[in-house]
Amino acid sequence: MVKKRTLAFATLAILVWAALATSVLGYYYLRFQEYVDLSREYEAVTMKVDIYIHYGNETNGVWHNNTIVPLGATLLNATGLVADTQYTYWSELGAAFIDSIDGVANNVTEGKSWFWWYWETTSFKWILGEVGANQHMLHRRNIVAWTYQSYETWPPSPPS
């Protein structure tokens, strides 16, 4: 039989836990509301895009859905927000080309490099990007993708 004393202290412990958990919940709710208000405030000057990155391995790529980027952001800016990117800017072309994403770098010996794609909403197809990532302006709800694959067979296969 549990002693009354033990029960009293167990009740006290549960009371402390309940009160503390409630106040921590309240804290996170307030923070959540702050972020909701902030995102509403920034809605006029931001947009959401979906970015897919496939690193060329057997596994599926990574989706970065609903990535919030400033209005007027380019593919290069947006990719930089979700991944560690290295790129080279070609001034004669005015274009920046990706050298590596998250440590996966273009490889001449293997004949592999990064390609970018955008989702064409009228034909429901991935279209291969034809300009530098810094030259492709994003719009609200755009879906874009990066794939790391061989350039020895042309055209490269779209993201699957």
Partner: protein, 194 residues
């Protein structure tokens, strides 16, 4: 106030100085030793002196704290800490002995509860200025409790650790000082004879 022997008075003065010294030393927010010392004083000297001790330490802290002048918060801090001292006096009356692991657990739970009570009282103090400036009371209180939650979490967890691990060694050491009265040993003897 009950009359105290010179040794008891000296010990109380040292404990006050130690508490104030730690209280005024820059440290991580809400990690404090005053509540443990206040609880101990309540046990050693009774509820009245324990309550007075806690209130006094927080009164001085209100003026000299490295976080700045206590202002509206000070009376709430005084009341909150005084309650911890009073609770120490009450706990002394109903304890089961000093050496058992049960006491450590009980004191840790009690420490958590008293710290929660202190935080609730001081959070009411945080809500006073916005409430006086026109914010509805319930909004001011909810905001104070919610924004104070991470601090309460640190406060309660650190006090569970302090009360649970520090109480028995400290009470054992302190009970020897007032002149061999060994309050807690007597208490334990009393319980073992029941």
């Amino acid at each position: 106030m009950p009359l105290l022997s010179v040794r008891k008075l000296a010990l109380l003065s040292v404990l006050t100085a130690v508490s104030l010294g730690i209280q005024l030393t820059p440290r991580p927010p809400n990690v404090e030793f005053t509540s443990l010392f206040t609880f101990l004083v309540g046990i050693l000297y009774g509820s009245l002196i324990g309550g007075f001790f806690g209130g006094f330490v927080m009164f001085v802290n209100g003026f000299l704290s490295p976080w700045g002048f206590g202002g509206f918060m000070m009376p709430f801090q005084i009341v909150g800490m005084a309650i911890i001292g009073i609770a120490g006096g009450f706990y002394k009356r109903c304890t089961v002995g000093v050496h058992s692991a049960q006491v450590s657990v009980e004191v840790a739970v009690l420490g958590a509860f008293l710290t929660l009570l202190y935080d609730i009282i001081t959070n009411v103090g945080v809500a006073v200025p916005p409430a006086l400036s026109g914010v509805p009371w319930h909004i001011a209180l909810i905001a104070a409790f919610s924004t104070g939650a991470p601090f309460s979490l640190v406060h309660i967890i650190s006090n569970i650790a302090l009360f649970g691990s520090g109480f028995i060694p400290l009470i054992k050491a302190l009970q020897r000082v007032p002149g061999g009265e060994a309050l807690w040993s007597k208490k334990e003897l009393l319980h073992s004879q029941r």
